[in-house]
Symmetry: D2
Subunit: 298 residues, 4 copies
């Protein structure tokens, strides 16, 4: 299936997105925007932030591709002088080169259904080279979309087999040239080496308002505590479980009449919305990581 071409977001025309972080000082914006202006570049969106603790400056600029006389590779070599002067960590991406999302799922399919809908309607401007699962349940739905579905058995009690399974997942991800690994209610804890190897490229949806109710069965935990709102958190996976940099969160009101089953139902709606928003920010290079926090230039 070829996703629809209707361009339903701000990024419908081709754009280069430049993201930068460096020590804060006067003159950074002038230097960067001066460089862009000097080549006729037309900035369509610009955002800035200074992190007070680290005194680091973060910026993101979207430039109309057709306003510049060169491509991202040429941009990169010319910009390196400015970058060096300010000690910048930076990257530039081209909207014409769509990011490749590898989705990992288990049996619950509300996030998968939501992401595949956004993909086939053209809202999620990215490619999905494959879906990986430790169950066969969702094969038919995924394949209806024309997307390859890989089954990888993850035995729960056999450590060496588990290690092999995750090695296979990593191999499939690498073979698919994945840019982002999306844990769309994958329900498995990723091994540390994967979290390290793909740091900042694994996005998880946790079904609680972190840091409350990390770990297993968060809706049961929420029910026991008697909270009046439940939530969901989209975050980068890191070595510590459910403790990585948070990209997006939201909450929804419940009351004493809601059982755990009701919470699970409300939760599905908020999980898929929060994951979709967080993933969109990542795909559009709107998320910059700063220590264990994120800057999200919406």
């Amino acid at each position: 299936m070829t996703p629809s071409n209707n361009t339903n977001n701000r990024s419908s025309e081709r754009r280069y997105t430049l993201t930068i972080s460096c020590p804060d000082r006067a003159g950074i914006i002038a230097a960067v925007s001066g460089f862009i202006a000097q080549h006729g570049g037309f900035i369509v969106e610009a955002s800035y932030h200074t992190d007070q603790e680290s005194q680091r400056f973060f910026m993101r600029q979207e430039i109309r591709a057709d306003s510049l006389p060169f491509d991202v590779s040429e941009f990169s070599s010319r910009f390196s002088g400015v970058a060096q002067t300010f000690g910048m960590t930076w990257q530039i991406s081209d909207s014409a080169r769509r990011k490749r999302l590898v989705l990992l799922v288990s049996k619950q399919d509300h996030c998968l259904d939501d992401l595949l809908y956004r993909w086939r309607s053209g809202e999620l401007q990215a490619d999905i080279p494959c879906v990986i699962s430790n169950h066969e349940d969702l094969r038919s739905f995924v394949e209806w979309h024309g997307i390859p579905f890989h089954y990888v058995n993850i035995p729960s009690n056999n450590e060496p087999a588990k290690v092999a399974a995750f090695a296979e997942i990593a191999r499939l991800y690498d073979t698919a040239c994945g840019d982002v690994m999306v844990l769309a209610r994958f329900m498995q804890i990723l091994p540390l080496d994967l979290c390290g190897r793909y740091a900042g490229r694994i996005i998880n949806i946790h079904h609680s308002f972190l840091p409350s109710f990390a770990g297993a069965r968060p809706y049961h935990q929420a029910f026991q505590r008697g909270v009046k709102l439940i939530g969901a958190t989209c975050h980068y996976a890191s070595a510590e479980l459910d403790a990585g940099p948070i990209i997006e969160q939201d909450t929804v009101r419940i009351d004493h009449g809601d059982s755990v089953v009701d919470m699970v139902r409300y939760g599905r709606d908020i999980e898929k919305t929060v994951l979709a928003r967080g993933l969109r920010y990542h795909v559009e290079d709107r998320v910059l990581i700063c220590g264990n926090k994120t800057i999200v230039f919406k």
Copy 2:
């Protein structure tokens, strides 16, 4: 100052409010509503809930006072038969007998300002016999309302003096015939014996979305964790700090640009709203405690 008489909530006519909990079984509603109907009672609001874990039934009924041929004392003696049959824990209150709120504050006054406004505008249908504080700062504002202000020094490093201070607070509360002790950003940890003696009658506002960020400086904790929403929690004080039954919560969105100072500012608005809502539910006998949770019949 006499608070205004404009009646701006549902309870403007005189009502009796009957709240009940008992083991769940068929026929409870019929028995209670039958008893009320038999005396011509006109029910204006009725709510029910069964707690699945404990298999206990909870109900609340508001009855128009003028529809019954007797007062709450007579109601009580006549109703005791029904109550005994079902093993009910129950109480009946008369809206003509306004609850008495004793407010405890420190230096921060946003919740105090909010509650006093709701009181003097007639929205909060309760009496405020006095305000107690460990600082003199808010005396003038409280006294402008014609409400007595009691200063009680609470030394931080002198345990016996602290014990005496809290004994004085309890004495002032008892002398004022308080029904509820409201910790309106009191910033002091209540001693265990007070929490026990006034269980279910001490309402606190905590400036986080519990169970996240219990204890001191929750906005600093939230800032460090990089959450994307902050919240506030209104709960009954209990022996364990910030762990009592939750009455009401809410959250508000923040982003990477918000410092701790910004969070404190956003937080004030949500703290005062959440406290006002929770307190209102309590004053209107809408909150029933079930273990460490609450049933709130809105």
Copy 3:
């Protein structure tokens, strides 16, 4: 496709739902709950409301089917005496008899995708005998679910052909024994006679916060007015366009940076959520119509 049997809402056990409206007076609750108790009926959820303007009383009660010694037909004949005494308009439904939803769609499929997902996951406890559309675009997706898809051409400039098309739609709906006609972004104005014939059984989702921006292109209207929130409204279709009784609404924040295209994207998420909630309330007999308003017993 057989939708999953996992029971993920409150109504997982078989229940009878009794909904009543009648002139308000003392004793109604006692009479109804007395009747139920007399036959051993176990009430699991009960809600009441008095409309002050019309002085009508509305109630809804869910009863465990296995607690009563008879079925809904027997219930009906026995209850008719009580009903007559109070001049009740009433009905009783059996959760074992699932409602039949006929979905009408055009080309936009976000609401369709959402409803079919909720159906196949077992969350939406109803049957979908068919989907009707004036375009062929969504046939493949619908048929993948094993649901019949009927194409009905609706020519825009030919009035007699249009009349015939809607007659065909009505025929398909009747043949399918539809209980509810769901306009899931159908983008066609229903003829008056259909609105009249199926009053209270046609549910529409309008992509604005009514009464603002009724009629065509509401997001363009919202953009022109410069509002800071956009919304969606689920309502019963009536003779006047976008003016029927409102079941559910919600809003989402936008800002000056959002184009009409961005609003359409945000709007999709809120439209499908609001429609799903409103439809759920209807399917569970939680919505009672009172003049041009609704009472929704959540």
Copy 4:
């Protein structure tokens, strides 16, 4: 009363705020940030927007005052060259020169109470030279704050006397050197000449989610229509009633159980919050008017 000096928002250090609008083209950001950098200026916050319809560019920059070697007057004369090149409409403000807010109230005081609290706590960084009212009711509360209170009688049936009353209000505003006239539930329709003379400087709070329910008694209108959310709108007053550029809006959920009186109560909380937010944006020069819409750089 001197409002507290605790600096509880982002603008605690002295800043210059530069706001600009001009025809869009490449190089604007470079020219402005180049000018600022050339004088050592340290930009602490920068925001941009292009209005697609008018093809106009809008920007706002906050600069640390101590980073520039001159004051706003010197800045103005030096910057005029850049401004002329790009055909800019622009202004620069100095946070050390606090804006002067003249509040107009009637009898309802929830917005007044809220604004005075924010002022005396130091959150609202502006001066309030006086409060004007057509009733004496709120004199004592205003004067307790040490703020002059002016009573101006506005007779309802005497047109010449009404004209004279508004002339007196304008005179008081001018004498107080007002920067903004805040209609904090003033309940009077301003004459056209005032709306024209102070265009972009009169801020109103309307108690509905505009454009729904403009004009009188919006909560009654909302009740009649049976909406499921009510709202409030902060906007600039213009010649057409309740139709000026919208600065901020919000909504709150209600249900069938809420009477008009309940809506009024919920409404108070949302009105004061929306007005406080909108006013804050204006005071911090975050609002730029573009036709009948606003750009709000939060």
